[in-house]
Symmetry: C2
Subunit: 214 residues, 2 copies
Protein backbone atom coordinates (compact mmCIF):
# COMPACT_ATOMS: atom_id res chain seq x y z
CA UNK A 1 0.00 0.00 0.00
CA UNK A 2 1.00 3.58 -0.64
CA UNK A 3 -0.29 6.55 1.31
CA UNK A 4 -0.08 9.89 -0.48
CA UNK A 5 -0.17 12.55 2.22
CA UNK A 6 1.35 15.58 3.85
CA UNK A 7 2.87 15.47 7.30
CA UNK A 8 0.60 18.22 8.63
CA UNK A 9 -2.66 17.12 6.99
CA UNK A 10 -5.18 16.05 9.65
CA UNK A 11 -6.90 13.76 7.22
CA UNK A 12 -3.65 11.95 6.33
CA UNK A 13 -2.78 11.80 10.05
CA UNK A 14 -6.06 9.92 10.72
CA UNK A 15 -5.20 7.31 8.11
CA UNK A 16 -1.63 6.92 9.40
CA UNK A 17 -2.99 6.09 12.86
CA UNK A 18 -5.35 3.50 11.35
CA UNK A 19 -2.56 1.84 9.36
CA UNK A 20 -0.30 1.78 12.44
CA UNK A 21 -2.97 0.39 14.77
CA UNK A 22 -3.66 -2.40 12.31
CA UNK A 23 0.06 -3.05 11.86
CA UNK A 24 -0.11 -2.54 8.10
CA UNK A 25 3.11 -1.61 6.31
CA UNK A 26 2.84 1.20 3.77
CA UNK A 27 5.00 3.43 1.67
CA UNK A 28 4.64 7.13 2.46
CA UNK A 29 4.49 9.36 -0.64
CA UNK A 30 4.72 13.07 0.26
CA UNK A 31 2.48 15.55 -1.55
CA UNK A 32 3.54 19.05 -0.57
CA UNK A 33 0.46 21.26 -0.16
CA UNK A 34 2.38 24.53 -0.52
CA UNK A 35 5.44 23.90 -2.76
CA UNK A 36 5.01 24.19 -6.56
CA UNK A 37 1.74 26.06 -5.98
CA UNK A 38 0.40 22.94 -4.25
CA UNK A 39 1.51 19.57 -5.59
CA UNK A 40 -2.00 18.16 -4.95
CA UNK A 41 -3.25 20.31 -7.85
CA UNK A 42 -0.98 18.65 -10.45
CA UNK A 43 -2.67 16.61 -13.16
CA UNK A 44 -0.60 13.58 -12.13
CA UNK A 45 -2.03 13.70 -8.62
CA UNK A 46 -5.54 14.54 -9.82
CA UNK A 47 -5.50 11.37 -11.90
CA UNK A 48 -5.27 9.51 -8.58
CA UNK A 49 -7.46 11.87 -6.57
CA UNK A 50 -9.91 13.96 -8.64
CA UNK A 51 -10.71 16.17 -5.65
CA UNK A 52 -7.03 17.21 -5.44
CA UNK A 53 -6.94 16.57 -1.71
CA UNK A 54 -4.77 14.41 0.51
CA UNK A 55 -4.74 11.62 1.51
CA UNK A 56 -5.00 9.00 -1.20
CA UNK A 57 -4.50 5.34 -0.35
CA UNK A 58 -3.43 3.07 -3.18
CA UNK A 59 -4.22 -0.57 -2.48
CA UNK A 60 -3.74 -3.23 -5.16
CA UNK A 61 -4.10 -0.68 -7.95
CA UNK A 62 -7.18 1.07 -6.58
CA UNK A 63 -6.82 4.71 -5.51
CA UNK A 64 -9.09 5.75 -2.64
CA UNK A 65 -9.74 9.26 -1.36
CA UNK A 66 -11.42 10.69 1.75
CA UNK A 67 -9.88 9.70 5.08
CA UNK A 68 -13.03 8.32 6.74
CA UNK A 69 -13.93 6.26 3.66
CA UNK A 70 -10.36 4.91 3.60
CA UNK A 71 -10.48 3.95 7.28
CA UNK A 72 -13.83 2.17 6.83
CA UNK A 73 -12.31 0.34 3.83
CA UNK A 74 -9.29 -0.73 5.88
CA UNK A 75 -11.63 -1.89 8.65
CA UNK A 76 -13.68 -3.97 6.21
CA UNK A 77 -10.73 -5.53 4.38
CA UNK A 78 -8.36 -5.89 7.40
CA UNK A 79 -10.79 -6.50 10.26
CA UNK A 80 -8.10 -7.40 12.81
CA UNK A 81 -7.82 -4.59 15.37
CA UNK A 82 -11.31 -3.23 14.57
CA UNK A 83 -11.76 0.53 14.54
CA UNK A 84 -15.55 0.43 14.87
CA UNK A 85 -17.61 -1.38 17.53
CA UNK A 86 -19.67 -4.38 16.43
CA UNK A 87 -23.13 -3.11 17.47
CA UNK A 88 -25.04 -0.67 15.21
CA UNK A 89 -25.73 1.86 17.99
CA UNK A 90 -22.07 1.88 19.01
CA UNK A 91 -21.02 2.25 15.38
CA UNK A 92 -23.43 5.17 14.96
CA UNK A 93 -22.01 6.82 18.09
CA UNK A 94 -18.41 6.42 16.93
CA UNK A 95 -19.19 7.65 13.42
CA UNK A 96 -21.18 10.56 14.91
CA UNK A 97 -18.21 11.72 17.00
CA UNK A 98 -15.85 11.27 14.05
CA UNK A 99 -18.15 13.29 11.79
CA UNK A 100 -18.59 16.05 14.38
CA UNK A 101 -14.89 16.62 13.78
CA UNK A 102 -14.45 15.60 10.14
CA UNK A 103 -17.61 17.35 8.85
CA UNK A 104 -18.37 20.14 11.32
CA UNK A 105 -14.97 21.29 12.53
CA UNK A 106 -11.97 20.42 10.42
CA UNK A 107 -13.29 21.56 6.97
CA UNK A 108 -13.69 25.13 8.22
CA UNK A 109 -10.03 25.37 9.19
CA UNK A 110 -8.44 23.70 6.23
CA UNK A 111 -5.47 25.38 4.57
CA UNK A 112 -7.47 26.26 1.44
CA UNK A 113 -10.17 27.92 3.54
CA UNK A 114 -7.66 30.00 5.51
CA UNK A 115 -6.09 31.04 2.20
CA UNK A 116 -9.49 32.17 0.85
CA UNK A 117 -10.14 34.23 3.99
CA UNK A 118 -6.76 35.93 3.62
CA UNK A 119 -6.48 36.43 -0.12
CA UNK A 120 -10.07 36.74 -1.33
CA UNK A 121 -11.87 38.21 1.68
CA UNK A 122 -8.79 40.21 2.81
CA UNK A 123 -9.40 39.23 6.39
CA UNK A 124 -6.72 40.35 8.90
CA UNK A 125 -4.36 37.85 10.53
CA UNK A 126 -6.14 38.38 13.86
CA UNK A 127 -9.60 37.84 12.38
CA UNK A 128 -8.35 34.72 10.58
CA UNK A 129 -7.00 33.30 13.83
CA UNK A 130 -10.26 34.25 15.53
CA UNK A 131 -12.16 32.29 12.88
CA UNK A 132 -9.89 29.31 13.45
CA UNK A 133 -10.35 29.32 17.21
CA UNK A 134 -14.08 29.93 16.94
CA UNK A 135 -14.74 26.78 14.92
CA UNK A 136 -12.36 24.70 17.01
CA UNK A 137 -14.24 25.87 20.13
CA UNK A 138 -17.68 25.13 18.62
CA UNK A 139 -16.54 21.70 17.44
CA UNK A 140 -14.69 20.64 20.57
CA UNK A 141 -17.50 21.88 22.81
CA UNK A 142 -19.90 19.61 20.91
CA UNK A 143 -17.55 16.64 21.15
CA UNK A 144 -16.85 17.27 24.85
CA UNK A 145 -20.61 17.22 25.50
CA UNK A 146 -20.99 13.99 23.51
CA UNK A 147 -18.17 12.35 25.45
CA UNK A 148 -18.97 13.67 28.92
CA UNK A 149 -22.68 12.80 28.64
CA UNK A 150 -22.24 9.12 27.78
CA UNK A 151 -21.40 6.03 29.79
CA UNK A 152 -20.00 4.55 26.58
CA UNK A 153 -16.97 6.84 26.89
CA UNK A 154 -14.05 4.95 28.39
CA UNK A 155 -10.31 5.29 28.31
CA UNK A 156 -10.88 6.27 24.69
CA UNK A 157 -13.88 7.95 22.98
CA UNK A 158 -15.82 4.68 22.91
CA UNK A 159 -14.77 2.08 25.43
CA UNK A 160 -11.20 1.08 26.14
CA UNK A 161 -9.79 0.56 22.64
CA UNK A 162 -9.21 3.22 19.99
CA UNK A 163 -11.88 3.74 17.33
CA UNK A 164 -12.46 5.95 14.29
CA UNK A 165 -13.58 8.67 16.74
CA UNK A 166 -10.13 8.82 18.39
CA UNK A 167 -8.48 8.81 14.96
CA UNK A 168 -10.35 12.01 14.12
CA UNK A 169 -10.07 13.60 17.57
CA UNK A 170 -6.29 13.41 18.04
CA UNK A 171 -5.29 15.28 14.84
CA UNK A 172 -7.92 17.94 15.62
CA UNK A 173 -6.47 18.46 19.11
CA UNK A 174 -2.97 18.56 17.62
CA UNK A 175 -4.08 21.38 15.30
CA UNK A 176 -5.87 23.22 18.09
CA UNK A 177 -2.64 23.26 20.11
CA UNK A 178 -0.70 24.48 17.08
CA UNK A 179 -3.04 27.47 16.87
CA UNK A 180 -2.85 28.10 20.65
CA UNK A 181 -6.49 27.26 21.29
CA UNK A 182 -7.46 27.11 24.97
CA UNK A 183 -8.43 23.50 25.75
CA UNK A 184 -9.25 23.94 29.45
CA UNK A 185 -13.01 23.66 28.83
CA UNK A 186 -12.62 20.14 27.36
CA UNK A 187 -11.24 17.93 30.14
CA UNK A 188 -12.57 14.68 28.67
CA UNK A 189 -11.02 15.44 25.30
CA UNK A 190 -7.67 16.35 26.87
CA UNK A 191 -7.70 13.13 28.92
CA UNK A 192 -8.51 10.93 25.91
CA UNK A 193 -5.96 12.72 23.72
CA UNK A 194 -3.28 11.97 26.34
CA UNK A 195 -4.33 8.31 26.50
CA UNK A 196 -4.08 8.04 22.71
CA UNK A 197 -0.73 9.75 22.55
CA UNK A 198 0.72 7.21 24.95
CA UNK A 199 0.13 4.51 22.29
CA UNK A 200 2.97 3.85 19.82
CA UNK A 201 0.64 3.75 16.79
CA UNK A 202 -0.50 7.30 17.57
CA UNK A 203 3.02 8.57 18.33
CA UNK A 204 4.42 7.17 15.09
CA UNK A 205 1.63 8.93 13.16
CA UNK A 206 2.36 12.40 14.57
CA UNK A 207 3.29 15.04 11.98
CA UNK A 208 6.81 15.61 13.32
CA UNK A 209 7.57 11.90 12.96
CA UNK A 210 6.88 11.77 9.22
CA UNK A 211 9.60 11.62 6.56
CA UNK A 212 8.41 14.90 5.01
CA UNK A 213 8.23 16.81 8.33
CA UNK A 214 9.82 20.26 8.22
CA UNK B 1 -38.96 6.70 14.65
CA UNK B 2 -38.81 10.46 14.95
CA UNK B 3 -36.71 12.71 12.77
CA UNK B 4 -35.88 16.12 14.21
CA UNK B 5 -35.04 18.35 11.29
CA UNK B 6 -35.59 21.54 9.36
CA UNK B 7 -37.12 21.57 5.89
CA UNK B 8 -34.16 23.39 4.38
CA UNK B 9 -31.36 21.50 6.14
CA UNK B 10 -29.33 19.49 3.63
CA UNK B 11 -28.34 17.02 6.29
CA UNK B 12 -31.96 16.37 7.30
CA UNK B 13 -32.88 16.14 3.60
CA UNK B 14 -30.33 13.31 3.14
CA UNK B 15 -31.89 11.31 5.98
CA UNK B 16 -35.42 11.90 4.69
CA UNK B 17 -34.44 10.39 1.33
CA UNK B 18 -32.94 7.36 3.10
CA UNK B 19 -36.07 6.80 5.20
CA UNK B 20 -38.29 7.15 2.11
CA UNK B 21 -36.19 4.80 -0.04
CA UNK B 22 -36.33 2.19 2.69
CA UNK B 23 -40.07 2.72 3.13
CA UNK B 24 -39.70 3.50 6.84
CA UNK B 25 -42.46 5.52 8.50
CA UNK B 26 -41.32 8.35 10.77
CA UNK B 27 -42.69 11.32 12.63
CA UNK B 28 -41.23 14.63 11.48
CA UNK B 29 -40.40 17.00 14.37
CA UNK B 30 -39.51 20.50 13.11
CA UNK B 31 -36.61 22.35 14.73
CA UNK B 32 -36.56 25.90 13.41
CA UNK B 33 -32.97 27.03 12.85
CA UNK B 34 -33.83 30.75 12.88
CA UNK B 35 -36.90 31.28 15.12
CA UNK B 36 -36.35 31.78 18.88
CA UNK B 37 -32.69 32.52 18.16
CA UNK B 38 -32.36 29.00 16.75
CA UNK B 39 -34.40 26.24 18.39
CA UNK B 40 -31.51 23.80 17.94
CA UNK B 41 -29.61 25.72 20.63
CA UNK B 42 -32.23 25.07 23.34
CA UNK B 43 -31.19 22.89 26.27
CA UNK B 44 -34.11 20.54 25.48
CA UNK B 45 -32.76 19.89 22.00
CA UNK B 46 -29.14 19.75 23.16
CA UNK B 47 -30.11 16.94 25.53
CA UNK B 48 -30.94 14.94 22.38
CA UNK B 49 -28.16 16.35 20.20
CA UNK B 50 -25.17 17.77 22.12
CA UNK B 51 -23.78 19.36 18.95
CA UNK B 52 -26.99 21.43 18.58
CA UNK B 53 -27.31 20.50 14.93
CA UNK B 54 -30.06 18.90 12.88
CA UNK B 55 -30.94 16.19 12.15
CA UNK B 56 -31.45 13.86 15.09
CA UNK B 57 -33.02 10.46 14.57
CA UNK B 58 -34.69 8.88 17.60
CA UNK B 59 -35.05 5.12 17.26
CA UNK B 60 -36.25 2.99 20.17
CA UNK B 61 -35.13 5.58 22.70
CA UNK B 62 -31.68 6.16 21.22
CA UNK B 63 -30.94 9.63 19.80
CA UNK B 64 -28.50 9.67 16.89
CA UNK B 65 -26.86 12.71 15.29
CA UNK B 66 -24.86 13.25 12.08
CA UNK B 67 -26.67 12.47 8.85
CA UNK B 68 -24.10 10.06 7.37
CA UNK B 69 -23.82 8.12 10.64
CA UNK B 70 -27.64 7.93 10.77
CA UNK B 71 -27.85 6.63 7.20
CA UNK B 72 -25.19 3.97 7.86
CA UNK B 73 -27.14 2.97 11.00
CA UNK B 74 -30.36 2.67 9.01
CA UNK B 75 -28.53 0.61 6.40
CA UNK B 76 -27.16 -1.76 9.06
CA UNK B 77 -30.43 -2.17 10.97
CA UNK B 78 -32.83 -2.10 7.97
CA UNK B 79 -30.74 -3.68 5.21
CA UNK B 80 -33.61 -3.96 2.73
CA UNK B 81 -33.06 -1.43 -0.08
CA UNK B 82 -29.32 -1.12 0.64
CA UNK B 83 -27.76 2.32 0.31
CA UNK B 84 -24.18 1.05 0.05
CA UNK B 85 -22.80 -1.54 -2.40
CA UNK B 86 -21.72 -4.89 -0.99
CA UNK B 87 -18.05 -4.82 -2.09
CA UNK B 88 -15.46 -2.87 -0.05
CA UNK B 89 -14.09 -0.94 -3.05
CA UNK B 90 -17.59 0.09 -4.12
CA UNK B 91 -18.44 1.10 -0.55
CA UNK B 92 -15.24 3.17 -0.38
CA UNK B 93 -16.14 4.89 -3.65
CA UNK B 94 -19.69 5.70 -2.53
CA UNK B 95 -18.52 6.96 0.87
CA UNK B 96 -15.79 8.98 -0.85
CA UNK B 97 -18.29 10.78 -3.09
CA UNK B 98 -20.64 11.33 -0.14
CA UNK B 99 -17.81 12.78 1.95
CA UNK B 100 -16.60 15.02 -0.88
CA UNK B 101 -19.93 16.73 -0.38
CA UNK B 102 -20.61 16.24 3.33
CA UNK B 103 -17.06 17.06 4.50
CA UNK B 104 -15.55 19.25 1.79
CA UNK B 105 -18.46 21.26 0.42
CA UNK B 106 -21.56 21.54 2.58
CA UNK B 107 -19.89 22.52 5.92
CA UNK B 108 -18.47 25.68 4.35
CA UNK B 109 -21.89 26.92 3.31
CA UNK B 110 -23.87 26.07 6.39
CA UNK B 111 -26.18 28.72 7.86
CA UNK B 112 -23.97 29.24 10.91
CA UNK B 113 -20.92 29.82 8.71
CA UNK B 114 -22.72 32.37 6.52
CA UNK B 115 -23.86 34.12 9.71
CA UNK B 116 -20.27 34.30 11.00
CA UNK B 117 -19.08 35.78 7.69
CA UNK B 118 -21.79 38.44 7.84
CA UNK B 119 -21.86 39.35 11.52
CA UNK B 120 -18.32 38.68 12.75
CA UNK B 121 -16.21 39.26 9.64
CA UNK B 122 -18.56 41.98 8.28
CA UNK B 123 -18.33 40.52 4.81
CA UNK B 124 -20.58 42.15 2.18
CA UNK B 125 -23.59 40.32 0.74
CA UNK B 126 -21.76 40.01 -2.59
CA UNK B 127 -18.61 38.58 -1.01
CA UNK B 128 -20.72 36.16 1.05
CA UNK B 129 -22.48 34.92 -2.09
CA UNK B 130 -19.10 34.70 -3.82
CA UNK B 131 -17.84 32.51 -0.96
CA UNK B 132 -20.92 30.29 -1.29
CA UNK B 133 -20.51 29.84 -5.03
CA UNK B 134 -16.76 29.32 -4.77
CA UNK B 135 -17.06 26.32 -2.44
CA UNK B 136 -19.97 24.85 -4.39
CA UNK B 137 -17.87 25.11 -7.56
CA UNK B 138 -14.80 23.53 -5.94
CA UNK B 139 -16.90 20.72 -4.46
CA UNK B 140 -19.02 19.98 -7.52
CA UNK B 141 -16.00 20.12 -9.82
CA UNK B 142 -14.37 17.41 -7.69
CA UNK B 143 -17.51 15.27 -7.69
CA UNK B 144 -18.03 15.74 -11.44
CA UNK B 145 -14.46 14.50 -12.02
CA UNK B 146 -15.04 11.51 -9.75
CA UNK B 147 -18.25 10.61 -11.57
CA UNK B 148 -17.13 11.31 -15.13
CA UNK B 149 -13.86 9.38 -14.71
CA UNK B 150 -15.37 6.11 -13.52
CA UNK B 151 -17.12 3.24 -15.23
CA UNK B 152 -18.87 2.54 -11.93
CA UNK B 153 -21.06 5.59 -12.51
CA UNK B 154 -24.44 4.54 -13.87
CA UNK B 155 -27.91 5.98 -13.86
CA UNK B 156 -27.01 7.10 -10.34
CA UNK B 157 -23.62 7.95 -8.75
CA UNK B 158 -22.76 4.26 -8.36
CA UNK B 159 -24.58 1.88 -10.64
CA UNK B 160 -28.29 1.94 -11.28
CA UNK B 161 -29.72 2.17 -7.79
CA UNK B 162 -29.45 5.14 -5.40
CA UNK B 163 -26.72 5.09 -2.77
CA UNK B 164 -25.47 7.27 0.05
CA UNK B 165 -23.62 9.29 -2.62
CA UNK B 166 -26.88 10.32 -4.32
CA UNK B 167 -28.42 11.13 -0.93
CA UNK B 168 -25.65 13.68 -0.38
CA UNK B 169 -25.50 14.95 -3.95
CA UNK B 170 -29.16 15.86 -4.46
CA UNK B 171 -29.51 18.24 -1.46
CA UNK B 172 -26.22 19.90 -2.45
CA UNK B 173 -27.49 20.51 -5.99
CA UNK B 174 -30.79 21.79 -4.56
CA UNK B 175 -28.84 24.35 -2.50
CA UNK B 176 -26.62 25.29 -5.42
CA UNK B 177 -29.72 26.13 -7.46
CA UNK B 178 -31.17 28.15 -4.59
CA UNK B 179 -28.04 30.29 -4.64
CA UNK B 180 -28.07 30.59 -8.46
CA UNK B 181 -24.85 28.65 -8.97
CA UNK B 182 -24.02 27.88 -12.58
CA UNK B 183 -24.20 24.09 -13.03
CA UNK B 184 -23.33 23.91 -16.74
CA UNK B 185 -19.82 22.58 -16.05
CA UNK B 186 -21.22 19.50 -14.26
CA UNK B 187 -23.25 17.55 -16.85
CA UNK B 188 -22.93 14.20 -15.07
CA UNK B 189 -24.14 15.70 -11.80
CA UNK B 190 -27.07 17.42 -13.50
CA UNK B 191 -28.04 14.17 -15.24
CA UNK B 192 -27.90 12.12 -12.03
CA UNK B 193 -29.76 14.78 -10.05
CA UNK B 194 -32.57 14.63 -12.63
CA UNK B 195 -32.68 10.83 -12.44
CA UNK B 196 -32.93 11.00 -8.64
CA UNK B 197 -35.62 13.65 -8.68
CA UNK B 198 -37.81 11.44 -10.85
CA UNK B 199 -38.03 8.96 -7.95
CA UNK B 200 -40.89 9.42 -5.47
CA UNK B 201 -38.65 8.88 -2.42
CA UNK B 202 -36.52 11.84 -3.51
CA UNK B 203 -39.49 14.04 -4.43
CA UNK B 204 -41.20 13.42 -1.09
CA UNK B 205 -38.00 14.43 0.71
CA UNK B 206 -37.67 17.82 -1.03
CA UNK B 207 -37.72 20.85 1.28
CA UNK B 208 -40.92 22.32 -0.15
CA UNK B 209 -42.76 19.07 0.54
CA UNK B 210 -42.08 19.09 4.30
CA UNK B 211 -44.69 20.01 6.91
CA UNK B 212 -42.54 22.90 8.17
CA UNK B 213 -41.85 24.35 4.68
CA UNK B 214 -42.32 28.12 4.48
Amino acid sequence: MQLYGYFRSSAAYRVRIALNLKGLAYESVPVHLVKDGGQQLSETYRALNPAALVPTLVDEGAALGQSMAIIEYLDETRPEVPLLPSDPLGRARVRGIAQAIACDTHPLNNLRVLKYLKHELKVSEDAKNGWYRHWVAVGLEAVERMLAASEATGRFCHGDTPTLADLCLVPQVYNARRFDCDLSAYPTIVRIDAACNAVKAFIDAQPQNQPDAE
